[in-house]
Symmetry: C2
Subunit: 369 residues, 2 copies
DNA sequence: AATTGTTATTTGTATAGACAATTATACTAA
DNA sequence: TTAGTATAATTGTCTATACAAATAACAATT
């Protein structure tokens, strides 16, 4: 029996639930006609007004459409809702680093599905991320692409859970949250840094300085790759050459670090900058100090940002497919929006070395493959 | 009388309209209790079920809340709707030129009001702008910030009208649509180019080449400013030194143009690049050709993009307050969203000259102020 | 002072029946 | 063939009535 007249649950609501069940089980399919009100009266024994109340609610909820004289029909939920969704995107700063490229990749993929992206700048701060998260939830975003902030893993997890608690899927882009299994699209920063460092070693460099921030999983992994490459090549790790700091990227910091490094110039022949922006900054400090790159010191970066803009430096670097990262993040979030409940995925994209002219091979020391 | 029983308009709908009218006229104010169903039965002579139908619709539409035993109350529409709005932003490419800075300014101002921004890349193409416009309308944006595309004025107007026909206000950012009076936030490109050109003249340059696209109002105005400055200083305009093209920005074009220019090197001493990206490209062509800037040729740009990134060139340029342009665009669209019906405004922000070292003063020719 | 019970008020759910409006379809007339 | 017309099916609007459920406010009890 469809309706239990002794239940405390309102009968119109019982009917409503039953109808939704039929829809979800595919008994009534998209564009099908459901039984007429008269038929439902027969089937349930309810008054027509009660039937109408249930059906009206489902019309309001977007499950059904009524057509005069024709009957009541099932709306194609997928068509109506899967498109036209809005996806939130939380990234550090749309002006800086790889963010524009990432946003563009995501937006291009979104456009294909007639989706839209709401863009939020976190400046890598937990509080801003939280603020934007609440707004995105209020705006009923269907999913979120999140570049974790510089805050602790717990705090980043907290942001993710704000969404997942409301059944809004989240995909992390670029940076992971260690110890938590969440969908992720990134590159292999360990491997990339390993390759980059090994390339320096092959060109005869043994004393390689590195400078980066420890706040982000990506840069920490690059540090590990660097260390491993040194170890594997029998080079002792010199902690004086590892200049980490635990703050956000700021010109002031890295200018200081660059100065400190150059003061002990004789101790190293190459610098591994944590990312391209650091590399460009180091280059400009070097110019100020009259140090030539690559003549005096070799320099590599990581990211391969917009090389056309600052091709005066001609930086050797590890190219990350940022645009593709945006696309893949969007594809993954879409599969979650469509209801893919499988366990968390990590999509790891391939980086590749881009050799330009900021590395000077040390004569007589170049190893052959 | 509230209800006209002879009208063909359903009585529940008449009542509904009457209630909305009362709400809008402030007869029932926010958080007020409206008459009970019993009272409305008395007032209208309708059956309670009909009353309920009208009230239920208004509950669904978010005008009212029902509270058992207490009555039915007016929701504070303003609180619910004025904030939480979404503003659309149509710009050429979030990766390129001033777009990131503009987007960030707009987003920061939006955040203050708990608004969100949907970002769309038009690539300066009419068809993409149209596609995104439809999506923005579907997403019920409350307003739109639009950087006109490279298409004709009529086509850009058509995009604007798509929105205004649906009562969605539009603010143009940076570029205007000549001949159409629409809210605009920009800088004075004529004056800026005039100042920039005059500065070159003061430093002894008389033969100044210029290269830019004629597709955008901004660049056309810069050309006019350049011409006027030459005329006012008694310098004849040499059409051989004006290299315009009527396509979108593309490295290929400007590389060609730069090569053409440098072939007739002796005819000029300075180049006015239509914007910074062109300037950086010209610089890199010059480097390839072994031409020194500023030693052989002086170079100025327009925009003052991210100078920290490519400070090898140290470009003299006209600084445009792009971030502020984003903020002001957002403020203006918000005043329209809040219902400001006054006539179209043009907000013109101040640019200023940034003198760096890409201009070489020609000895003995420098004029004094 | 705190708890429990009662009452009146108001919205919530439900029935049975009537007529109106709309429109796909079939039929009819030009 | 086309245009108009009737008809039947179906949803849309409306009435009158009844009882249920929730709860603020008050009263009674402990």
């Amino acid at each position: 029996m469809i309706i239990d007249r002794n239940s405390p649950i309102p009968q119109y609501f019982q009917l409503q639930r039953w109808l939704v069940e039929q829809l979800e089980q595919g008994v009534f399919k998209a564009n099908d006609k459901i039984p007429t009100e008269a038929e439902l009266v027969q089937m349930t024994g309810l008054a027509r007004a009660t039937i109408r109340q249930a059906v009206q609610n489902l019309v309001n909820l977007g499950y059904l459409v009524r057509k005069r004289k024709l009957g009541t029909f099932v709306l194609d939920k997928a068509e109506e809702s899967e498109n036209q969704t809005i996806v939130g995107m939380l990234l550090p700063d749309i002006r800086a680093g790889y963010a524009p490229e990432l946003a563009r990749g995501a937006e291009d993929e979104a456009s294909k599905n007639k989706q839209s992206i709401i863009l939020c700048n976190t400046d890598d701060l937990f509080l801003k991320a939280e603020f934007h998260a609440d707004r995105l939830i209020d705006n009923n975003v269907a999913g979120v692409i999140f570049v974790p902030t510089a805050a602790s893993d717990e705090k980043n997890k907290y942001i993710v859970e704000k969404f997942t608690n409301k059944n809004i899927p989240v995909v992390l882009a670029d940076r992971e949250i260690p110890g938590h299994s969440i969908d992720l699209v990134t590159t292999d920063n360990f491997k990339g840094a390993y390759t980059l460092t090994e390339n320096l070693i092959k060109q005869g460099h043994k004393k390689i300085a590195i400078t980066l921030s420890t706040l982000f999983s990506t840069e920490r992994q690059r540090l590990e790759g660097y260390k491993q490459a040194l170890s594997d090549n029998g080079i002792k790790i010199d902690s004086n050459l590892i200049m980490t700091h635990d703050g956000l990227y700021a010109e002031k910091y890295y200018t200081e670090i660059a100065h400190k490094l150059f003061k002990q110039k004789k101790k190293f022949t190459a610098i591994f900058a944590g990312h391209d922006r650091i590399a460009y900054l180091i280059n400009s400090v070097a110019m100020d100090l009259g140090i030539g790159i690559p003549d005096d010191i070799s320099l590599v970066g990581y990211d391969d940002l917009n090389p056309s803009y600052h091709n005066q430096l001609d930086l050797s670097t590890m190219h990350q497919p940022i645009y593709e990262m945006g696309i893949e993040s969007m594809k993954l979030i879409n599969s979650r929006i469509r209801g893919d409940k499988s366990k968390a995925k990590s999509i790891v994209l391939e980086s590749h070395l881009v050799e330009r002219s900021s590395v000077f091979p040390i004569k007589g020391e170049v190893k052959k493959e």
